[in-house]
């Protein structure tokens, strides 16, 4: 079989040709079809990008507000904008990192005093700490009613699978009483003192006097000083 040349033509070999791109002025039918089809598809391509839901779209294809573009009509001004934006980015990063550094420092200091922080995951409040220390977490209360609510959060006894109990009295809330506006939420810090508590996993609830529907499951992980529970 006669194999055609690498440029797709059966005629003379043209693959070595190269030079400045010559914009076509007189188009063949196939060239015109290529140009027209590509122009049509790219319009839909960009429209689709603009129409994507925010979670699936790269943010702000076009520069916002009067930021202009570096390839606008004022190169000097555009360059100045780039410089200003970079400076602002650097400043914002510096501020963010300063705050993160401060937060890390506080975290470290509290942990060195035996305080550990809990987390809420899928409606379960997990608290953890070493035996003899404390475990701390944050509880959010939501008032879905149409009137203001008062609530006094409290911890139930926390029980392990083998019958050991962390008594409710080991838990403290700060603030002890909450006032929650209609359709609003507020938080309280819960602290469990793990004085003589044996290592293990304990389960119970946070309940709230005044909010009868609130029952937040709690899992307390108590570790030995050096190992896992």
């Amino acid at each position: 079989m006669n194999r055609p040349e690498a440029d797709g033509r059966a005629g003379p070999h043209r693959s070595g040709e190269f030079g400045p791109f010559q914009a076509l002025t007189a188009l063949t039918d196939a060239q015109r079809r290529g140009l027209d089809a590509a122009t049509q598809v790219v319009r839909e391509f960009v429209d689709l990008l603009d129409a994507q839901p925010s979670s699936d779209t790269p943010p702000s294809s076009e520069p916002a507000g009067d930021m202009g573009s570096v390839n606008g009509h004022e190169p000097g001004l555009a360059q100045l904008r780039v410089t200003v934006v970079r400076a602002l980015d650097l400043y914002a990063d510096l501020v963010r990192r300063s705050f993160e550094g401060y937060a890390d420092l506080m975290n470290q200091m509290l942990r060195s005093r035996g305080v550990e922080f809990g987390s809420v995951d899928g409606g379960l409040l997990t608290l953890q700490g070493a035996a003899g220390a404390r475990a701390i977490g944050t509880v959010w209360m939501h008032n879905t009613a149409a009137r203001r609510a008062s609530a006094i959060p409290r911890l139930t006894d926390l029980a392990s699978h083998d019958g050991r109990v962390v008594p409710a009295s080991a838990g403290r809330f700060q603030p002890a009483a909450l006032t929650i506006e209609p359709s609003a939420s507020t938080s309280a810090t819960v602290e469990v003192v793990l004085g003589d508590v044996a290592p293990g996993v304990y389960r119970g609830y946070v309940l709230a006097r005044g909010l009868p529907d609130v029952a937040l499951p709690v899992r307390l992980l108590v570790r030995t000083e050096t190992g896992r529970s």
Binding site: G8, G19, A38, N71
Partner: protein, 352 residues
């Protein structure tokens, strides 16, 4: 304007940018355990030198917009790693025999191992984006968002192509082909590198829609040329087995043109061949004779499908030329800008 830039100049700049990317990539491809069935193989495809169009386009665009190489190297490494991940999985999906002149990974080590190596490369591709130090938090976040979006679009495009082959879809137009390659090729080959290069170089102030348009045209010209090379290239330069696209039943521009130009009997044979390629058993050819890859290429030559695709690509490249001048309208002249413009004729002239 590309006056003064030769094909060899473009290839030299591709080599320069690729070399920078490969050096930066090494820190993500270090020796570690398990080596024999994972990390030794993770380094295989990246070590097979490709053209490096994606990282080169990203780095050059960043430079053209006033940024530095250092700022863009992380994303350049990320796209090259992701590209290699795609290649491994594509080769499995297509059961390709060769990649960059050597046997494909799954042919040498088996499909399960190759899938896992592809997964590893896809995960490794995320790592360079996590080091946002050169960019700052805001730009890093935007680059990551762009990366996730690009991956999503690419995978969606690949799904459409696999679906066409699985369902033996044959009633297709050139616009269908352009929409497909817009998703599966352009996003990660040209659109993303251009958008992210401009994003980083301009510190987020450039018009990215203009980059998207130029990237689409440039990527389409790239893919059309790639499809032609698969049929009529020189295997040693092209690096993949010739006629592989026909064997796999890929809906290329030439195939779509042929489906619309063939006689009734030729079309019946062609549709039956495509059904077999798409793993449809027992597809009746309605009395039409069996046909093979070489005969299909003969038909393409006979019906002018290769010439059509070549000229169609020239039309697309004309659109790329216009959109380049829109996207880079006031970007000052530089070697990087000249290189990007020279990629338009390069896409039509390349032989590998």
């Amino acid at each position: 304007m590309t006056a003064g830039i030769e094909l060899s100049d473009v290839e030299a700049m591709l080599g320069h940018f690729s070399s920078l990317t490969r050096d930066a990539m090494q820190r993500y491809l270090r020796d570690r355990a398990p080596g024999r069935y994972l990390y030794d193989l993770v380094r295989d495809y990246p070590s097979r030198t490709g053209k490096g169009i994606r990282p080169s386009l990203l780095l050059a665009t960043c430079q053209a917009f006033g940024g530095s190489i250092d700022q863009a190297l992380g994303p350049a490494v990320a796209i090259e790693l992701a590209h290699n991940a795609f290649l491994i999985h594509d080769d499995i999906e297509d059961d390709s025999l060769q990649r960059r002149g050597r046997p494909t990974l799954h042919r040498v080590h088996g499909t399960p191992v190759a899938i896992n190596v592809g997964d590893a490369l896809a995960v490794l591709a995320m790592q360079p984006l996590r080091d946002g130090t050169p960019l700052g938090t805001r730009l890093s976040q935007r680059v990551s968002d762009e990366f996730i979006h690009m991956l999503t679009r690419t995978i969606e495009g690949q799904a459409i192509e696999l679906g066409w082959r699985a369902d033996n879809v044959v009633d297709l137009e050139p616009t269908d082909y352009l929409e497909l390659i817009g998703q599966k090729t352009c996003w990660y080959t040209t659109v993303w590198p251009l958008r992210v290069g401009a994003l980083i170089g301009s510190a987020g102030t450039a018009s990215l829609d203009a980059m998207t348009r130029f990237g689409f045209y440039l990527g389409a010209a790239f893919q059309i040329r790639d499809d032609l090379l698969n049929l009529v290239g020189v295997e040693a330069e092209y690096g993949k087995e010739l006629l592989g696209d026909i064997r796999e039943g890929k809906r290329t521009l030439m195939l779509i043109h042929l489906l619309g130009s063939a006689s009734v009997d030729e079309r019946k044979s062609l549709v039956a061949f495509l059904a077999r390629a798409g793993k449809h058993p027992d597809v009746p050819a309605d009395g039409a004779p069996d046909i093979d890859e070489a005969a299909i290429l003969e038909l393409m030559v006979h019906h002018g499908s290769l010439e059509f695709a070549f000229q169609f690509g020239q039309g697309v490249a004309t659109a790329a030329y216009e959109s380049f001048h829109d996207a880079f309208a006031d970007v000052p002249p530089s070697a990087a800008r000249g290189f990007i413009e020279a990629l338009i004729p390069y896409m039509l002239a390349r032989v590998s």
